[in-house]
Amino acid sequence: MTHEKLTMAQALNRALRDAMAEDPSVLMFGEDVGPLGGVFRITDGLTAEFGEERCFDTPLAESGIVGLAVGMAMNGMRPVVEMQFDAFAYPAFEQVVSHVAKLRNRTRGAVTVPMVIRVPYAGGIGGVEHHCDSSESYYAHTPGLHVLAPANAADAYGLLREAIASPDPVVFLEPKKLYWSKEEVDLAAPVPGIGKAAVVREGTDATLIAYGPSVPTALEAAEVAAQDGRSLQVVDVRSIVPFDDATVCEAVRSTGRAVVVAEAVGFASVSSEIVARVTERCFHSLAAPIRRVTGFDIPFPPPKLEHFQLPGVDRILDAVDDLQWEDS
C-alpha cells in the first residue's frame, strides 16, 4: 500500500507506463505524443523509456492514426492512440464508427480490434473553439465501443489499465479540466471495473448522477446542500458504456429523487439516456420527475461565455429545489 499524491495526468501517464512495461504489444501513438510527451504531457517520458517503436508521433492525420491502429490491432498489437483534442477526433469518425466499432460483429468475432482511443475532452479550461467539445454521445450511440470517463486520479489509472486489457475497443474520455487536480491515490488498490458506477457520496434526500468533469461539480453541490440541511447522494457513472443500471437505479430508489448533471449538450445525449433508463426502471420509486442540468443545445461557447454553459453548483441546486419537495 503506497499512497502518493498524483494528478490525473500523472496517473494516466503511470497507467500507460505500467501497461507498456507489462505487455510489449502495447503501443502508444498520435500527434506530439513522442518527444514532447503530448500537449497535456500524458505520454511524458514514454518514448525515452520504451523507444521510438513503442511510443511515436505519426503524420498529422486522425483518420490515419485510428485506421493504422485498426490494422495493428488486427495483427497482434494493442494500440493506444491519442486524439489531441475532442473536436480534432472528428476526421477519424469514419474509422471509429465503421470499423473500430463493427469489426467484431461483421466477422462473427473472428476479427477483434482491442485498442484504446484516448480523448482529452470537455471544457472548463477557457479553450477557444474546437478545443472543448463533449463528444461522448456520438461514441455512446455507436454499438461496439466501450466509453469510459474517469473523474479522479485513481479511476483514471484503474480504468485506463482495464481499457488497455479489454478485448473490446474503448473510447477513453479524459476531462481536461481535471488533469491537474492532485489527490492521494494508491495505484495498487483495485477500483471498480468497466461497467461499474460508484456511489461517491452518501445521501438520503436526492441523488446526483454525473460523470467525468461534472462529478467534482456535483460533489461541490452536495457539500453546499448539506450546509442547507439537504442530504444529496452522488453517483459517478464512470462507465458510460456499458452502463451500470443496477448501481444507478439502486441509488435513485434509495432517495426517490434524481438530477443528472452533464456538461454535454442535453438533446439526444447520454444524459437523456440516463433519464430514460432510470425512469423506465424506477418509476414507482420516484417522488418527482428526474431533472437534468446539462450544457445548452448550442455549439460550445467562446471562453468569455463558457461559464453560462457549464453546469454549476447554483444551477444544480435550483434543479434539486424543483424536485417537488412540497408533496413529500
Partner: protein, 361 residues
C-alpha cells in the same frame, strides 16, 4: 487535358530573389520599388503585431496566440498578391495575412481574446473565418472558387495551410477536387518545419511538399519563405495562372516558426536553440530593409515613419483588447439557427432568470 509531369514539378531549390544579406540573386527581376516598399511597410506592421499580441498574452488579454514571427513575409505576400474580389482562407496562424488584407486586427483577435469565435464579417474583406481544424478550410476554398467559376466571376482563392496540415486527408481531396474541376485556387503551404513538436521529416519524405501536386495534376513551386520579393513573384505568378484558367496551383514556402507553437508550448522540449538562431540571419524584415536601403529606395526617415505607423496600429490593438466587452448571454442562443428553436427559447429564459435572481441578491 494531358499534363506533362515534368511541367508540374517545382524548381530544385526554393526560388530566392534577394539573398539573406539583401543582395539580389539575379534569378529574376525583383518587384518594383513601390511594390517592395508596400511589402516592407506591411512587414514592419506584421512584426509589430506579432510582438504586441505576444505581450497581450503575457498580460492575460489574449487566451493564446500562435505567432507568425519569422513567417511574416509569407503572410504579407499572400494577401498583397490578391485583388479586391479574390478570397483569402487563413488558419489560426494567419492573423497577419488577414490584417494585411484589411481586416481590423482587433476584430481578428476576437477569437483569441475569447469574446467570440470569429470577430469579423468575412464578406466585407473576403477573408474566410480563421480555420483551426487542420486542412478543412482548403475544401471550402475550392468550393468558393468553383462557385465563382460557375458564375463566370474572375475570382482567385488563396488557401493557406501549414506543413503538418498536408498530411490530413482534406488537403489531398482539396487538391484533387480543384484539379478535376479546374478551380482557380492557389494552395499556399507555409512550411515552417514543425507541426507543434513534430518535424517535417515525420510528415513527409517527399522531395518537397510542392511535389505533392504532381499526383493530382497540379503544378507545384517552391519559394524562400523569408524573401518577400520571391514570394510576391511566385505567388503573384500562381494567382495570374489560376486567373488565366490554368487551374489550381500549389506553392510551398520554406520558412521557420521562430517562436513556440503558441505561448502554451515549450519548444525547448523538441528543438535546440542553435537551430532557431541559424534562422535569425534569414529574417524576412531585415532582408527586405537591407535590399531597399541598398537601392537607396528606403532611408532612415521612412523607416521611422513606417515604425511610427506600426506603433499606431499596436496602440489601436492594445486599446481594443484592453476594452472589456460585457458578455451577452443572448449571443449563446441567437446564431445557432436562423430562428431560435422552442428549446433554445426555454434555455435563454433559464439564463435570464438566473441573472435576474443574481441581480436581486
Amino acid at each position: 487535358m494531358t499534363r506533362d509531369p515534368a511541367a508540374l514539378l517545382p524548381s530544385a531549390e526554393p526560388v530566392m530573389l534577394i539573398d539573406p544579406s539583401g543582395a539580389p540573386t539575379g534569378l529574376a527581376d525583383v518587384p518594383d520599388d513601390d511594390t517592395m516598399l508596400a511589402a516592407y511597410g506591411a512587414l514592419v506592421a506584421a512584426r509589430r503585431l506579432n510582438d504586441q499580441a505576444y505581450a497581450l498574452v503575457r498580460q492575460g488579454r489574449l487566451a493564446v496566440y500562435p505567432s507568425s514571427h519569422g513567417q511574416e513575409a509569407c503572410q504579407v505576400a499572400a494577401a498583397q498578391v490578391l485583388g479586391a474580389d479574390d478570397w483569402l482562407f487563413p488558419t489560426y496562424r494567419d492573423t497577419v495575412a488577414a490584417v494585411t488584407r484589411g481586416v481590423d486586427p482587433v476584430e481578428v483577435l476576437v477569437l483569441l481574446k475569447g469574446d467570440w469565435h470569429s470577430g469579423y464579417d468575412p464578406y466585407r474583406t473576403k477573408v474566410a473565418p480563421q480555420a483551426t481544424p487542420l486542412a478543412t478550410q482548403l475544401l471550402h476554398a475550392v468550393g468558393v472558387g468553383y462557385a465563382a467559376k460557375l458564375r463566370g466571376e474572375p475570382t482567385v482563392v488563396m488557401a493557406l495551410c501549414g506543413d503538418g496540415a498536408t498530411s490530413e486527408g482534406d488537403f489531398h481531396e482539396a487538391l484533387n477536387f480543384a484539379a478535376v474541376f479546374g478551380v482557380p485556387v492557389v494552395f499556399f503551404v507555409q512550411n515552417n518545419e514543425y507541426a507543434i513538436s513534430v518535424p517535417l521529416a515525420r510528415q513527409s519524405v517527399a522531395p518537397s511538399l510542392a511535389h505533392k501536386g504532381v499526383g493530382y495534376g497540379v503544378p507545384g513551386e517552391r519559394v524562400d519563405g523569408n524573401d518577400v520579393a520571391a514570394l510576391l513573384a511566385v505567388l503573384g505568378g500562381a494567382v495570374a495562372k489560376a486567373r488565366a484558367g490554368e487551374g489550381p496551383q500549389l506553392v510551398e514556402a520554406h520558412t521557420y516558426r521562430m517562436q513556440a507553437h503558441t505561448n502554451a508550448d515549450d519548444a525547448t522540449r523538441y528543438r535546440q536553440d542553435d537551430e532557431v538562431a541559424a534562422w535569425v540571419e534569414r529574417d524576412p524584415l531585415t532582408r527586405a530593409e537591407a535590399y531597399l536601403r541598398g537601392r537607396g529606395a528606403l532611408g532612415d526617415d521612412q523607416v521611422t515613419a513606417y515604425a511610427a505607423e506600426a506603433d499606431r496600429m499596436a496602440a489601436h490593438v492594445r486599446d481594443g483588447l484592453n476594452r472589456d466587452v460585457e458578455p451577452n448571454p443572448d449571443d449563446l442562443f441567437d446564431f445557432v439557427y436562423a430562428r431560435r428553436t422552442p428549446q433554445l427559447e426555454e434555455q435563454a429564459a433559464l439564463v435570464a432568470d438566473e441573472l435576474s435572481r443574481e441581480d436581486a441578491r
